[in-house]
Symmetry: C2
Subunit: 396 residues, 2 copies
């Protein structure tokens, strides 16, 4: 059995680099850019009006001209026009291209318009109300760096430079394996000694949230069947995520089956609660990683968040950030185990305050549904007082 | 022009109730439950072993029996057995059903097993190592309340009670309308006076994140065409989300077109930056709501987060929670406008610290892509010092 800190370190030392792939823009949200995105033109691409009003040549102001003949109306989407003389003006709308020979925009509120003539009622500054070509970004500038997480705002930038397809980090292909002869499908009425599957569905929902659609696979508690089914799955998937079959019971065949398939055990059992019987291993040459979680729901769910999500972030080249919370009550740590305690959280003046949720042990699925996340309570003997700060992992 | 506080209040006073619908479990993540979920049986459904070891009748301990003949091995998924006499025991695995006539489990670590006999090496307590039937939840108990947001953990609960389909709040059907003759599609090479669409793609990405797939619709800046196209769209959609065409320019036809279609203006123009020309209206009888945002990207994005998302939460019967952040630097408010300032955030000891991002005005899409969210800075004259707390909206 190893301590949590070592287990976590080991997991992060065995990331995968799965390479890149191209996806269409509309499917790229939530993915990680694997290319730098450059401006394909200046932004804005032309000198752009920022007001509705009239556009003039400032040379007219220097000649004390205040009344201008209106040559026409310019709106966004019209090609660039040219002002024929500085005694004339155009009406111009926000977003329109500044005409040639003009350089200053006066908003309607500072003009009087009558019978095709505009009179200005206050003296403008040269060049005012113009969003200058290239003032946001110049052609060729890097707008978004490789490694950027694609949010809705990033989609806007990608669209504006014409990226109808974009190169992103590949996500691992994942097989979520459930074991346990007591498990039946959700549409079945379980016999008294049976229960319905829930872990594999929870994991699938959590993975879908990060754009991974896992393959579900249920295997009976039979040593030979387990080995044969896992062997097949390893041909197709990068990551095997198992729940159940890793405790010390006589029917916990998973560790042996994985060993027989050439998966190297990195560790088995971590001094933590819940999730102690966690088994983690790799097959280096074929780039396979195995997260084999204990079968009870809270253990699986906690280990998914505590180990798998940081592993995935690092595999995708992202920084593993640590969120923290302030404890709203005192708590007793365990002398020899790292605890992952379910909490609900609340904002108070820019601080995130956590209160523990009283569950009924690691089998209690319902208390899990009420939790906003987990705090990590390091092992220790002394009661931890209200106001202490803990590392926090938000639940999916 | 109205102040932000009034505009926000007005928006929340015009929510829609769209009713319920049934979706399959795997598609329900992120939705809001519209039914109470009850336990269809006790949880756990039987007296369940929590250890690997042997199971005995405590009456044997009272008779000072310490050595038991092993009748067999019980594992999870086996129907309930019966202990034939209290001089016997079963081996039992975690998750297995407690046999009849037995009531106490001794873990392997406190036994010696040899030649079909088990000897216990320490005296157990009656009833130990059993997760009692119904101790988590009793049959008929409400496990999840109507209004619960369906997370990955909630999916686990729903699966365990056999909800292969679940009743959830309906989401509004949304049409995202872009206007502006300067806009071309992302795969096109824009002429010098044109730009590619970005707002409608950003909005679609943000909506997809909350499980809404909007219909995109582009309309040319032509009064008649706008009216005709909007009229058609109103037949099909609950919410129209427009960007552009609401300023005071001569080609900003949207407010008139909406009025002609019988949409009642609730307000137009809010004392805020960015997003001042925001137009909001409803058609009460036909339950239609119109969010008509200004055309520039930062305005649209800010208004979507500040107005639309709370409106949707309230429409779905959810509480509109307020997140808060602590400002990591001093800031100057505007004397007469509420400001929505783009910030990046960082965790420091359970506190969320925000720093402003220097953008180049409301057209600057790239600075938007760097922001984690917006803070709301109420209007005022005095500089706000570092450490002040602000309402914060996380960006999608």
């Amino acid at each position: 059995m190893i301590v949590f800190e070592d287990a976590f370190e080991q997991v992060l030392q065995h990331t995968l680099d799965l390479g890149d792939e191209t996806v269409v823009l509309s499917k790229s949200t939530g993915r990680i850019l694997s290319e730098d995105i450059k401006a394909d033109r200046d932004f804005p691409p032309f000198n752009r009006s920022t007001k509705d009003g009239i556009v003039i040549a400032f040379s007219a102001i220097e000649k004390r001209i205040t009344r201008f003949k209106i040559e026409g109306i310019l709106s966004a989407g019209m090609p660039q026009q040219s002002l024929s003389t500085d005694t004339n003006c155009f009406e111009i709308m926000t977003g329109a291209v500044l005409p040639e020979q003009a350089d200053t925009i006066v908003m309607y509120e500072q003009t009087e318009i009558k019978d095709g003539w505009a009179t200005i009622t206050s003296t403008p500054n040269k060049g005012q109300n113009i969003h200058r070509q290239g003032s946001d970004e110049q052609k060729g500038a890097i707008l978004l760096k490789k490694g950027t997480s694609i949010t809705a705002a990033v989609i806007g930038v990608l669209a504006s430079v014409g990226k109808k397809e974009v190169s992103v980090k590949k996500l691992p292909k994942i097989c979520v394996v459930s074991t346990g002869n007591e498990l039946v499908e959700i549409h079945q009425i379980p016999l008294p000694h049976q229960i319905r599957k829930s872990n594999s569905l929870s994991l699938a929902a959590a993975l879908e949230k990060i754009k991974i659609t896992p393959k579900p696979l249920h295997i009976a508690d039979d040593k030979d069947v387990i080995e044969k089914e896992l062997e097949k799955a390893f041909l197709e998937f990068d990551v095997m995520m198992l729940s159940g079959g890793v405790s010390k019971g006589k029917f916990d065949f998973i560790p042996d089956a994985l060993a027989n398939l050439g998966i190297k055990k990195i560790f088995h059992r971590v001094a933590q609660r819940p999730g102690k019987p966690f088994w983690f291993g790799i097959q280096k040459e074929q780039q396979k990683v195995v997260f084999s979680f204990p079968g009870n729901p809270v253990s699986t769910f906690a280990n998914y968040h505590v180990y798998f999500l940081p592993w995935l972030k690092k595999s995708l080249g992202q920084e593993v950030e640590k969120q923290s919370v302030i404890l709203g009550e005192a708590i007793q740590p365990h002398p020899s185990l790292t605890l992952f305690v379910q909490v609900s959280t609340q904002w108070q003046q820019g601080k995130l305050i956590a209160k523990t949720i009283k569950g009924n042990g690691s089998g209690d699925l319902v208390s899990l549904a009420l939790a906003d996340g987990f705090i990590r309570v390091p092992q220790g003997n002394d009661k931890i007082v209200q106001g202490a700060v803990f590392e926090y992992t938000e639940a999916s």
